[in-house]
Symmetry: C3
Subunit: 347 residues, 3 copies
């Protein structure tokens, strides 16, 4: 398990590593990231959203990361850079390096494939035959890697992850605990009242730099593969069914479900608990709002929503009843329009 250690850098040292222009005292020492409101001595923070700009007057941060158009809005030590939020992410990583805390192959692990010396394999891991691990792969306790799986260099599997046989992970992939990659897709042929299982012969292919949260499931393909494009970020408790192709750099928030054979273009974003039904295509750049269900393919980028607005329960009862009569209400309005027109004509 990872744990962070105390580190510090001067502002100039940070800029030397990560770029950006230092204004003010470059020798000030930074050991922590924080928010404008909470920052104190030794803390670096950032301004990425105009609405927090007034906090620059009151923050007690040692230094602030700012965009060029806000460079003069803060008088203290600062770094000016085009994308302060991304810069902040990198400073935070610099100050909080991952400390894996173990190395080599633990004696209790059962490893049936040759692995590079640089890997770290924790207790009670089980690695099947013909598995290929890249350099510096980290596999935490209780993970199970099926026969023939491949995991690219620098990838990290947190405890109790399961990778089924034959699945392929790119480089620098991060998978959090309890996630299952490559279980059988949900495919059955009806025969009378029973369901005959259709073998799921494809695998899951995950691109470089993908991160997947905890207790998420990505099913193997039925005939072809399920594909997660490079740079995708997938949250906890997300279900991705067989044969899906998720476009590179897409983001799926928690509790999202993607049914079978969905194709999403590059940089799609699905809010929490969004649901995409089967065999649809989403154009690149599509955003689905949280809690919305998609029932038709989307051919044009943009934001789409379908959520019943929340109300007090009493008002909901009052209004929801009319949903079931909406078609009739529309008919009544049409009838009124017709009658009124007749009356007016008659007049």
């Amino acid at each position: 398990m990872v744990a962070s250690e105390a580190l510090s850098f001067t502002l100039s040292e940070i800029a030397a590593r990560l770029g950006g222009d230092v204004l003010g005292d470059g020798e000030i020492r930074i050991s922590r990231v924080s928010t404008l409101a909470a920052a104190g001595e030794g803390d670096i923070t950032f301004l990425a959203n105009r609405k927090y700009r007034a906090q620059l007057q009151t923050t007690r941060a040692a230094a602030v990361v700012l965009a060029p158009d806000a460079a003069d809005a803060f008088a203290g030590a600062r770094i000016v850079t085009a994308n302060p939020y991304a810069y902040y992410a990198r400073v935070a990583t610099l100050l909080n390096p991952l400390n894996v805390g173990f190395s080599g192959v633990h004696a209790s692990a059962v490893v049936d494939s040759p692995v590079p010396d640089s890997v770290a394999i924790a207790p009670h891991v089980c690695i099947g035959r013909n598995v290929v691990l890249g350099d510096d792969v980290v596999i935490h306790a209780g993970c199970v890697i099926g026969d023939g799986a491949q995991i690219g260099a620098g990838s990290i599997l947190y405890p109790n992850v399961t990778i089924y046989h034959g699945c392929v992970l790119g480089e620098r992939v991060i998978i959090h605990s309890g996630t299952v990659i490559g279980a059988d897709g949900f495919g059955f042929a009806p025969e009378g009242k029973a369901w005959i299982k259709i073998p799921q012969i494809g695998v899951v292919r995950i691109g470089d730099d993908v991160e997947i949260g905890a207790n998420t499931t990505v099913d193997r393909g039925a005939l072809e593969d399920t594909v997660i494009g490079e740079g995708c970020k997938i949250d906890n408790l997300v279900q991705i069914a067989h044969n899906c192709r998720i476009g590179p750099y897409s983001v799926l928030a928690g509790c999202t479900g993607v049914a079978g054979s969905v194709t999403m273009g590059e940089h799609c974003i699905v809010g929490g608990a969004g649901m995409i039904t089967g065999h649809l295509s989403l154009a690149a750049g599509t955003t689905i709002s949280a809690g919305s269900l998609v029932m038709k393919s989307i051919t044009e980028a943009g934001r789409y929503t379908g959520v019943f607005p929340l109300d007090t329960h009493e008002d909901w009862v009052r209004n929801a009843a009319h949903i079931r009569r909406l078609s009739k209400l529309a008919d009544r309005v049409s009838e009124l329009e017709k009658q009124l027109k007749e009356n007016n004509t008659r007049d």
Copy 2:
């Protein structure tokens, strides 16, 4: 972990095992299943849906499985059978047999019950006391089986499955990774602001031929048992609460939630992210569309839906605002009808 091996059969050999009538070259050799569009040499495919019939003219498949009414629509080698899709499922299984890849009890497993010689128990499995395993049960790495649990012959548990004490699985049950059977149901008695835990004394009983996907949860009963009928197919990330009785051959797609004490008749189907609230009954043959929430019992078979239609975000904002005024809108229409009627009477 399973992995498939290359196998091949002549078309006549397939028909000898699985039935159906061979037309054309019965000696043609088949080694793979595929789709009409993607099939090539050595591949068998099928036609189950009229809309793909035109592809019979262009497919490069070695053989096609067809229903009698389409038997003449393809000139090449073919098998004619009443249910081509189910037949395809069986051919696919024949060509892709499960290769468990391990046998016996691994030295690292902790097994506190006698087990048949025919079982396969992988590393780091933990099996409690008084557990009964049927013949040929396969338990993958990291599974934990509680005291007194029973698992019927031919069942397969993929890695990191947990079966709580006393739960009973039928024969040929398949459970995918991360799934939890028999955790405590969610039962608490309010006392002031606190919640007093109610012991969950029932177990989970799962019928023969049930398949359950990855990271699904089926809670044990409070007093009586939670029951999953034979032949049910349950997808990933499904929640089945305590005391539910899911009728035989029902199908629950991914992300579905079934609250406590729900009774579903035979052959119910719930689409992805369907939700059934507590203490309801669903008639046999009920289908719930994806993303729909059921708040009342359903007494008549049929398909039921309740989904807010997706729209562009701007249009959604425009329309959704009126949901909160729908009751008033209906009142205004009634008032208009009344006035117009008065006017017309007066005229």
Copy 3:
């Protein structure tokens, strides 16, 4: 794994331990809890809901727990107490004590921290460095506890739970199988089309007497901590994102999702599959109905709902189409009102 054993008490012995007034035969022996309808010899049951009162005439229970206002509605042996349901929960616990079934540290566990003699650690558990376990902590098979985590006295972790480094659990916390506490929050800074990971430096803090179901996920905080207040009860497959603060004694039913930085007051209740979007506050005492999505903060206690009413699929198609024209329908009604008013004025 736990398993219950047969125990019995006289009604007077029960009242001596749990309070309440015995009426009728205090020497009657009780060995099981049951429902009014199903109870038989040796069974105790309870009446908490008026609508089951008639069953008091027909129940074959050995004894019934009743509120004072129903004390005379049953002639047999009974216990009278202010809160029969909570009393029933305690009787059920008395008759079904948790039987952990193992003690000490199993030889296969990898434990890198000193632990009290009173803990029970099952096979294949992995406990990191600088972990602090309270007395009588029970950790079932396959759990993984990260460096520096703390688990309070009397807590129970069921099999295959993962606790990431540094997370803090209170006393008497129960966590069911497959649940993941402290995985990285979902935080990324956009840079071009890519997403830069923001280290998640906070931890998860869970109060005393919290119970969390199976396959649930609670993410660690980005900068500050994610906090679950004391006495909260959280069901299966619930997602709680980074930086959330869930008020004490709140209840989140299965499949609920709480997005990042949500603050919930004391004793909030979220029905199954409820969804709370990010950065909102919910007033103490807020109840969200099952399947409802919250998009704005709630400042007043009460019950809130937002669910599209279920209908037959055909009727849904007919009515749902009008949702997309609701704004225009409202405009048409306004136009009719205007015209009719003009007509009436003109008359």
